[in-house]
Assembly symmetry: C2
């Protein structure tokens, strides 16, 4: 079952909708055209709003039409109705495009657009890209849906991408995303054989699983959220193998805890790594590099370099290629870091993000 | 400028919204929670609908909240307001997720979802995949927008994909889509040197342009819509070079006309080709292979084999990999074709479609 929302947009010269008579005429033409698809409509409510006019129409089967005029020159039409699993749509995308084209023509509008039908039901299907565009995924099942102390954790199944981990309604990793892990670790370009590695975060287990294939001496993974690991162990084993099931072997150990606390401990002990992976939160999209998250990002970078050998590297994911401002801000932080570092970046198209993603490799400048 | 639509969905046990007192309580809690973000709301209208209940609320700045209860157990909330170019959003995606999470918790709902904000304005940004999922593109400019006698033709600019040709509101080809043309023509697998080729459709010019790089003897392209070629010549020259500007040279010719008429003419004349490309409409998504479009597809296939040499091949695009039923139906048509044919298929991820696409190579079975 789903509530279907069919949305149409139009633009128009503002004068034509501010004038009451002209607007009434437009409403009449729109109503008549909708009636070709839905039969007789009745107007159930209308009112002037601060920035325009709103009217609500309905057919006799429970379809609600919300028609809104914005004085600056926009008209929006929402057609909304309930649809059971196997019922046909009450208006197809083809018909809504036809309705749109007829209205643009009959009313000499400046522009029209039909959005593909939004099917709003119990299965989460809509996510956004890093530049806040909506993407609908072909998700047909929810496999896991719980809140931990830290976040909302969901694992869903996509027909194209396999199982997908969703944290706080952001796509995290899917079974089709091997390229994500391989670009993060720069497979084929970095040599992990015999190395000591620390992963900050990484709860989906994919990075640990892939690193272990490269014969490192030891990997320690510091993950705060046990429930993420439990969920991924159950539903994402194609990307994490059994590393979240058997959490310690001679060449790795998973520690459940706050990575900052553990980094402090390593700094005190004088423990050193060849690689530290920042597999935590994304770089935030914000206007200035201030606030808690940016403080956290700086602190992570500083502490990581305190536990890295002079030849060591800090490897991390950045953000979408469509967010250059956010990436620049991150690079500004890198440039201000003490000790002085140099960095390279790599890009990969990540299937489950549906966009290009940037990854950073950071080392000491004097190496 | 844009009309912003922020959509939230919830599911709930049906009994809780059919019962009037319980429903009133839920409305009260939702209203109070929205007020944390928008200040005092007034209810401007409410009514029982066939399949549930609808109420309209508003704040004092023109934000309209449509809250709808569907008796089968869904609640939808639409928050809609006008936003000028540089104004901030009235509610961020983060806040709407927070609102959603609070409501799910406070009201013990079964599920909640926040859709990324839909920005509805004069620039067309929303298209659909072959399985009818909505995708928002990073389109920032409309370069061309006209109706021809045959279709609505738009060329828009996407930050990631370059210029994109849109026909009747379907993504057609973008500057980033070389892989589309290369998979259609099976570059590196087929040898076009010295061959005679016929393109049915292909108005964007990309296929002709790429084929000419492979030293064919002659290519004839049969395109019905001159306005598509005019638009692409102006705005898509990175994919079509100057072939739409200079429409005839010794090794190619573009004919403006109905490809069926020309195929009939070639059949009468006994003209034969090494390759025929079907670069026309996609295979339709329909329940049965009937209707005008399927008749057209069958007719194209039959006629093409009448103008192909015995060793010749018919090359075409199919549909999205997410539409196996539609692809199967097409393959059924191929299997019924006289003369008997054999076919291979290839798949490529097409950047501007944001999905995997299937391409067919069809030849005579006895070759």
């Amino acid at each position: 079952m789903a509530a279907n929302s069919v949305l149409l947009d139009f633009s128009i010269e503002p004068a034509r909708i501010i004038d009451e008579l002209s607007r009434k005429d437009i409403v009449k033409v729109i109503k008549e055209n909708i009636e070709k698809y839905f039969g007789n409509l009745k107007m159930i409510y209308d009112m002037l709003v601060n920035d325009g006019y709103l009217c609500i129409l309905s057919d006799n089967t429970g379809v609600i039409f919300s028609l809104r005029f914005y004085n600056e020159g926009l008209i929006t039409l929402n057609i909304e109705y309930f649809k059971k699993e196997n019922q046909p749509q009450k208006i197809s995308f083809e018909s809504s495009r036809l309705l749109e084209n007829t209205l643009v023509k009959d009313l000499s509008l400046l522009h029209g657009q039909s959005l593909p039908t939004l099917s709003r039901g119990p299965i989460i299907r809509f996510f956004q890209t890093s530049d806040e565009r909506i993407i609908e995924y072909d998700i047909d099942k929810v496999l896991f849906d719980k809140h931990s102390e830290f976040q909302k954790i969901q694992i869903v199944h996509s027909k194209q991408l396999g199982n997908m981990l969703i944290l706080d309604e952001l796509q995290n990793i899917a079974e089709a995303d091997l390229i994500y892990t391989e670009t993060l670790m720069q497979r084929g370009k970095e040599n992990y054989s015999g190395k000591e590695i620390c992963i900050l975060g990484g709860g989906d287990g994919a990075l640990l699983y892939e690193l272990l294939k490269e014969n490192p001496k030891h990997v320690v993974m510091l993950e705060i959220d046990d429930l993420v690991m439990e969920a991924c162990n159950k539903h994402m084993s194609s990307i994490c193998g059994d590393v979240l099931e058997v959490r310690q072997r001679e060449n790795y150990e998973i520690v459940i805890g706050d990575c900052m606390v553990w980094l402090e401990k390593y700094i005190k002990e004088g423990k050193k790594f060849d690689y530290v992976f920042g597999d935590l939160t994304d770089i935030p999209i914000s206007d200035t590099p201030t606030g808690e998250i940016w403080d956290f990002i700086r602190k992570i970078l500083e502490s990581s370099f305190k536990v890295l050998k002079p030849t060591g590297k800090f490897m991390t994911h950045g953000n979408g290629a469509s967010c250059p401002e956010s990436l620049e801000m991150y690079e500004e932080q890198l440039k201000k870091l003490k000790p002085v570092v140099k960095f390279t970046r790599d890009t990969a198209f990540i299937p489950s993000f549906m966009e290009n993603w940037i990854f950073y490799q950071v080392g000491l400048a004097d190496q």
